[in-house]
């Protein structure tokens, strides 16, 4: 209310006007502080605790805040519940700008304070919501309990109650600098304190040692009796479906070049394989689709269910592992494709270019579409004949492929050791 902000300028010089302005302040602050309508916004774990806080046990309605508005235009309070990633950041800022003033923000949970569990070694998490929007109250916890959210709400209430039209509400400043390395700071400060302490105590300690040379503390550290636990070996569960050697002999008959990945191909060795570890076969790129099609259609194996497609980066090459299962019989088979990295790409472009290519199995398993997209997104492996090969998790213009071992990103903060 622009007009209201001019009121103190007019009323304050008039005798008694100050009280009128104070009264006006009190009434508006009272209304604002007690009617905080939050925006329905949550990304992860904290959102569930935010929901819990509005439910029967905790009942945020007692404070008049149960009116969760789905539209930012009608909200006053932005509870940032959950981790904020770089892809979400523009959306978050836009939501904040859509809320009409006076508006307030509560950063709920460790992720919104500093990145929390995702602070170190992470390329996609924003370290602190205060680098995006001005935050009024921070609530620590991972996730904070609903009681903590209420404490945050009441803290914000106190903050609003101290506002005045003489210094009207205005949007705060975004602290757009990286989260300070508190750990190193604290370590340094502690070391300095210890040094001072040592210096100050040196004389006294020397004196004490001289006076009582054979002194031994009478106190003994209390220790809880250490529990003794038995050593129990791992017992695999009984085999489900076809045994590994049968599956392998079926494959071997039609595809002689296929070999087990981490196993001796001989029958006894395959028999000795623990029953809870599925057979892992290495296949060539040419035979990959044919083998999978054969295994899917063969009534003996009938591998009709795709568990997952994933990859591992072994510095020199990629391993793409296709995990298949038979719903009916229950046996599983891992099909491994070893893809050498493309050496023709110059060194400076390697990080941002696709280094390998392999055929897609989308036409056999529709489920493979997103899984292959994920491998493409994370490893930079091209899938031939894939219907929709786009980045899945990171932005379209993201540089590099995160799950490669040599991936670097300017936002990664190394964990101090």
């Amino acid at each position: 209310m622009g007009i209201m902000n001019a009121v103190p300028g007019i009323l304050d010089p008039i005798p008694g006007g100050k009280h009128l302005v104070n009264m006006l302040d009190y009434v508006t602050n009272w209304a604002r502080a007690n009617s905080l309508w939050p925006l329905t916004y949550g990304t992860s774990c904290c959102a569930i605790e935010m929901m819990s806080s509005s439910m029967a046990r905790y009942d945020i309605a007692r404070f008049g805040s149960e009116v969760f508005r789905a539209s930012p235009r009608q909200a006053d309070l932005f509870i940032i519940a959950g981790t904020i990633t770089e892809k979400m950041a523009p959306a978050l800022q836009m939501l904040w700008e859509q809320i009409p003033g006076p508006k307030y923000a509560i950063a709920m949970g460790a992720c919104t304070i500093s990145g929390g569990p995702f602070m170190y070694d992470n390329y996609s998490v924003i370290r602190g919501a205060n680098t995006l929007i001005p935050v009024d109250v921070f609530i620590p916890g991972c996730p904070p309990r609903p009681e903590a959210l209420f404490h945050g709400l009441l803290t914000l209430r106190d903050k609003i109650l101290s506002e005045t039209f003489r210094d009207p509400w205005k949007e705060g400043i975004v602290i757009d600098k990286p989260y300070p390395d508190r750990w190193s700071e604290a370590t340094k400060a502690w070391e300095e304190l210890e040094k001072i302490k040592d210096e100050e105590m040196a004389e006294a300690r020397l004196k004490f040692k001289e006076e009582q040379p054979g002194y031994k503390s009478p106190y003994k550290a209390l220790r809880v009796a250490k529990e003794v636990f038995p050593e129990i070996p791992h017992q695999p569960k009984p085999l489900i479906g076809l045994p590994a050697n049968t599956i392998f002999s079926i494959i071997k008959k039609n595809f002689p070049s296929v070999s087990p990945f981490d196993n001796d191909p001989s029958e006894p060795a395959l028999m000795a394989r623990p029953s809870d570890m599925p057979l892992d076969v290495l296949v060539s790129k040419e035979e990959y689709v044919d083998l999978i099609q054969f295994l899917k259609e063969d009534p003996r194996t009938h591998l009709d269910y795709l568990i997952d497609v994933t990859a591992v980066d072994w510095i020199g090459h990629f391993d793409v592992i296709t995990q298949l299962m038979s719903i009916e019989k229950g046996h599983k088979l891992f099909i491994r494709l070893s893809l050498p990295k493309d050496d023709s790409i110059p060194e400076e472009n390697r990080a941002t270019s696709l280094l390998a290519a392999m055929p897609s199995i989308y036409h056999l398993y529709p489920a493979a579409e997103w899984k292959e997209r994920e491998v493409f997104d994370m490893f930079g492996i091209h899938f031939e004949n894939h219907p929709d090969e786009r980045r899945l998790f990171v932005d379209e213009d993201f540089k590099g492929y995160p799950l490669r071992k040599d991936f670097t990103h300017p936002h990664i903060l190394k964990r101090p050791v």
């Binding site: 329905t40 949550g42 990304t43 992860s44 774990c45 569930i48 819990s52 439910m55 029967a56 046990r57 969760f68 930012p72 959950g82 981790t83 990633t85 892809k87 979400m88 959306a91 569990p117 995702f118 170190y120 992470n122 390329y123 996609s124 996730p143 636990f229 038995p230 050593e231 129990i232 070996p233 791992h234 017992q235 569960k237 489900i240 981490d262 809870d276 570890m277 009709d304 568990i307 997952d308 994933t310 591992v312 995990q323 719903i327 229950g330 529709p366 489920a367 579409e369 997103w370 899984k371 929709d388 786009r390 899945l392 998790f393 990171v394 932005d395 995160p402 799950l403 071992k405 964990r415």
Partner: protein, 380 residues
């Protein structure tokens, strides 16, 4: 046909119609997309022509981060994937680690795991009940589901020290033993839950509007459910009896007597019915565990820092959402070379377009809530 360039992700040919289609963006901030999911809708009037989900709004790089953490530290990150079934995720991770370490779990430890996991399953299904009711427009159901869930959280709070992100299991057992009050509390909770489930089912299952809204909506055929890699209640509602607890048992599930509820139509109502029936099965399992609960050590021998034998390990567990598979590649050292988790929501959501096509926006919301996705588990 239309020469307009479609937004990314849309690929179906434009149908021959006189009406003009338009595109609506749902999310990442939308009350019924269950978190940070963004759905791009292509609509003809109110009818959905195509749905394209966009992910990554909560992509936290957990798999990358895991490579620079040690094995025990990673268990903490598994809580934050599917936070509604955190305790079951812990179990899935620990199973894979146990295979790599070659250690087992004592009987009491297994019972603790089963009981906590089933409590977690009930809690997750109650959230489903709540969100399902809420998404259909019945705000009161939302409150009802969360009401009983708080009691489970009280138990989890007492046992693990945390309401949501439990971080309780370790390779070989759990962090510590359960308190003496655990069994009596679970017993009294189950009695209470059975009583209130009667009310809750009456509130939604027999409501004529709910039946009209859900029956015959979002049908997923058996073949499609398998082809899209669906698992858990979504798969079982389509008539495929696959439950990891039954078909590929882990823990002590092979010693317990319980049924796998399945239905055959594969519509929204069936997915709801399957989940409600699973709550009753979980109650049955918990009752048996209370009866059989043994004395003895709760974990096997502790190691100060764990190092897996080099190799790759796979474990599969059934969380409330479905098949939760962990694939760990261990090299030398105390850090995993690579950890990959196969979240059930990711695969289940793949079938969304198939289910929602041809229905109205209101139905999309109810279909989405019966898939019961948890977005951080998809994005990781």
């Amino acid at each position: 046909m239309s020469s307009r360039k479609l937004p990314p992700g849309f690929r179906e040919e434009v149908l021959d119609s006189d009406t003009e289609e338009y595109f609506v963006n749902m999310g990442p901030q939308h009350p019924s997309t269950h978190g940070a999911l963004r759905l791009a809708l292509r609509l003809d009037g109110e009818t959905i022509v195509e749905v394209v989900p966009h992910f990554g709004y909560i992509h936290r790089g957990i798999e990358k981060q895991a490579e620079s953490m040690n094995y025990l530290q990673y268990i903490m990150l598994s809580d934050r994937q599917d936070y509604l079934t955190a305790i079951q995720n812990n179990w899935g991770i620990c199973l894979a680690f146990e295979k790599g370490l070659g250690i087992g779990v004592p009987e009491r430890g297994e019972f603790i795991r089963v009981m906590l996991a089933e409590l977690g399953r009930i809690a997750s299904h109650l959230v489903f009940y709540a969100c399902f009711g809420g998404d259909l427009g019945g705000q009161t159901a939302l409150l009802f589901g969360f009401k009983e869930r708080e009691m489970i959280h009280d138990i989890l709070d007492e046992v693990t020290g945390s309401r949501l992100t439990t971080n309780f299991f370790r390779p070989g057992g759990s962090v510590h033993d359960i308190p003496d009050t655990f069994i009596p509390r679970v017993t009294s909770f189950l009695e209470h839950l059975e009583k209130s489930m009667v009310d809750y089912e009456r509130f939604l299952s027999k409501n004529i509007i709910v039946l009209e809204r859900t029956k015959g909506i979002g049908i997923l055929s058996k073949e499609d459910a398998i082809a899209y890699g669906c698992s858990g209640p979504v798969l079982r509602a389509s008539g495929v009896s696959y439950d990891v607890r039954k078909n590929d048992p882990y823990g002590i599930y092979d010693q317990l007597d319980f049924d796998v509820p399945i239905t055959y139509r594969g519509d929204t109502y069936d997915r709801y019915v399957v989940r409600i029936a699973e709550i009753h099965e979980s109650i049955k399992i918990l009752r048996q565990c209370i009866k059989l609960f043994p004395e003895g050590p709760y974990r096997s021998k502790e190691k100060p820092s764990i190092r897996l034998n080099p190799g790759s390990y796979y474990s599969a567990t059934e969380t409330a959402k479905g098949l939760y598979a962990t694939y760990v590649v261990a090299a030398s050292g105390d850090k995993p070379y690579r950890i990959h988790t196969r979240g059930p929501s990711f695969a289940n959501l793949a079938a969304l377009n198939n289910m929602a096509r041809g229905h109205k926006i209101s139905d999309l919301v109810s279909i989405l809530s019966t898939i019961d996705p948890v977005i951080p588990e998809i994005d990781r």
